[in-house]
């Protein structure tokens, strides 16, 4: 017999108390606890107002909350015995509990983004694009979900995730659940319990200036409104990526909970941009435990789809791996100009170059290629470019490329 087997045996050496034993021990403990309470009544806890008014920062935050409350005719609901962070923890904890038994959820929302871009991308200048999301957990605990916006659709059927980009008929298939989408903002939101739980985990660490809690009466229904200030992640010495994703923005998240059921009923995100706060995301409908048609979790793919794929190692792989980001942009656009699609494919992460892209980029004229730069957490590079398309349109933007793939070769990742 090996030591590992013995270790396993010991781990299995578990004792279980009978129900009567458990109840008896618990009863004895509670009796002691109650006796102690009678003997030593709880020490009076300091009022939250006393805590808040002790610090100039928290005083300011409290004042801000009061102004909001007065402006909008709201009632502040600070429980007088707890701090804002503790009250926020309590509300989030109740909200997590409220959704624990939920088997399905449907969310409609709107987001300032491109209809075809990924589910995390935001653009403060763009108009709202509608989003729809479904999630269902079956009796065996298997999760399925679907997220769609006008030009992009992702479906997880319990085994794998399929992403369809309608404009180019591009399809990407991958394992579930961490696939390009479920860990994006929409997926995060759809996973209501985890969303609230992650806020809950952070709530205790936040200062009172980052949290604001109020009670609001909307159409005769009491709501608890929790506002959480969140800072952009990563270093933005170059701020190109700042405000292009929720996670790369300084924002305020506003959660609306039903005061009675504690269920999350609404969610908004305001990005702080200069002097103004721009609403970039807003739920318009959240339904818990709705009937969801199973067909939604099966994706019928259109004909002639083009598959996304990992780049394979080429015979002359080293040549492409060694290129600088600027060289990549030059070679890529030159190949588009020459309509040399075999060469374009070496940078394009799909089985073939989509026809739509050939029509769009074929015969272009390079005006200039700028100096590459990096920003935020993005693992690749951005290369500024200016091109003249065959249609006569001048396009000036940044090509996103990265080489964190098995072939270690530069691949197109966005910016066209």
């Amino acid at each position: 017999m090996k030591n590992t087997q013995i270790e396993n045996l010991i781990k299995q050496l578990r004792f279980k108390a009978t129900a009567q034993t458990r109840d008896r021990i618990l009863a004895n403990i509670l009796r002691t606890q109650r006796a102690q309470k009678l003997e030593h009544p709880a020490v009076t806890k300091p009022s939250v107002w006393r805590i808040i008014m002790k610090s100039p920062i928290t005083k300011l935050a409290a004042a801000a909350c009061v102004i909001i409350a007065v402006t909008f005719g709201l009632n502040i609901v600070f429980n007088k015995s707890v701090s804002t962070a503790s009250a926020a923890e309590q509300i989030l904890s109740d909200a997590v509990k409220a959704v624990e038994g939920i088997r399905s959820v449907y969310i409609e929302a709107k987001m300032r983004t491109e209809p075809q871009d990924n589910f995390s991308y935001i653009d403060l200048k763009l108009d709202f694009v509608p989003l729809k999301m479904w999630k269902k957990v079956d009796d065996a605990g298997q999760i399925r979900w679907r997220i769609e916006k006008p030009e992009r659709l992702a479906v997880m059927d319990g085994n794998s995730t399929i992403l369809l980009i309608k404009q180019i008929n591009g399809v990407k298939i991958g394992p579930c659940p961490n696939f390009n989408c479920f860990d994006c903002w929409c997926g995060h939101l759809l996973n209501v319990e985890n969303l609230l739980d992650s806020e809950l985990q952070n709530a205790g660490q936040r200062s009172n200036s980052e949290l604001c809690l109020r009670r609001e009466n909307v159409a005769g229904k009491e709501k608890l409104v929790l506002e959480i200030e969140t800072r952009a992640q990563a270093d933005y010495t170059n701020d190109y990526l700042k405000n292009k994703f929720i996670s790369t923005s300084d924002n305020k998240r506003v959660y609306y909970f039903d005061a009675e059921t504690k269920l999350l009923e609404g969610f908004e995100i305001y990005v702080h941009a200069g002097d103004e706060d721009v609403l970039v995301f807003q739920t318009t409908d959240i339904q818990y435990d709705p009937e969801i048609d199973e067909k939604l979790f099966k994706l019928e793919l259109p004909k002639d789809v083009v598959w996304f794929q990992e780049p394979k190692i080429l015979p002359d792989n080293e040549k492409y791996a060694r290129m600088s980001p600027k060289e990549v942009a030059q070679v890529f656009f030159k190949a588009c100009a020459d309509e040399n699609w075999d060469e374009v494919l070496k940078f394009w992460p799909m089985s073939t170059v989509p026809q739509g892209l050939k029509r769009y980029l074929g015969g272009l004229e390079i005006i200039s290629i700028g100096e590459p730069f990096q920003s935020g957490f993005y693992p690749g590079w951005f290369v500024p470019y200016e091109i003249k398309l065959k249609s006569g349109e001048i396009k000036k933007y940044n090509l996103a490329i990265r080489k964190d793939n098995p072939a270690k070769r530069w691949q197109f990742d966005g910016g066209i």
């Binding site: 090996k2 270790e7 050496l13 578990r14 009978t18 618990l26």
Partner: protein
């Protein structure tokens, strides 16, 4: 882990519900620890009850710095030692009869899985010197690190690792011998 922090926070503010949840969550783990340390199911019940009572009594001063299970496991180990010190004469008799005690099915605690091999393992555990048994039980069942066990036993980490290794060796020798019979 975060759930524990939240439960402790509520418990410190007098929530009986939070305490019940902590109790339900850990009582079997702690009874398992105590039963394996003491090889006396009645004593295990007393020890665990004392641990929870002390926990309740010190609620106001209590600050959770690591894992709650780790904290409670250390409390069980300390109370078990206290119990052994007070009942030393009785213990020798108990240990000699460990197998009989553990196989009794009408006691307050029962082995969760009644397999013959586990019963033999259980009886073999009773034959380990206490310090070795404590190292093995706290490491494998209390999820404590060798560092934490060393602090508890007031010895170096190397000593705890040796006790653990010798404990496993002895168990292996006893069990191999048992299986050959």
């Amino acid at each position: 882990m975060f759930e524990d922090r939240l439960l402790v926070w509520k418990f410190k503010r007098g929530s009986e519900q939070a305490f019940r949840r902590i109790y339900e969550k850990y009582v079997d783990d702690l009874l398992t620890l105590a039963a394996n340390l003491l090889h006396d199911t009645n004593a295990a019940e007393d020890v665990v009850q004392d641990v929870f009572i002390s926990f309740v009594q010190s609620a106001e001063e209590f600050h959770l710095t690591g894992s709650l299970k780790g904290y409670l496991s250390v409390c069980v180990a300390n109370k078990s030692r206290d119990w052994l010190r007070k009942n030393r004469s009785q213990v020798n008799m108990e240990l000699a009869e460990a197998q009989a005690v553990q196989s009794a099915t009408d006691g307050p605690l029962q082995l969760a899985t009644q397999s013959e091999l586990l019963q033999k393992t259980n009886a073999a555990m009773a034959q380990l010197p206490y310090e070795q048994r404590e190292a093995v039980v706290l490491y494998l069942q209390g999820d404590l690190k060798f560092r934490q066990i060393a602090e508890l036993q007031n010895v170096s980490i190397k000593t705890v690792q040796s006790r653990y290794r010798y404990g496993l060796e002895k168990l292996r020798s006893i069990l191999n011998h048992e299986l050959e019979r």
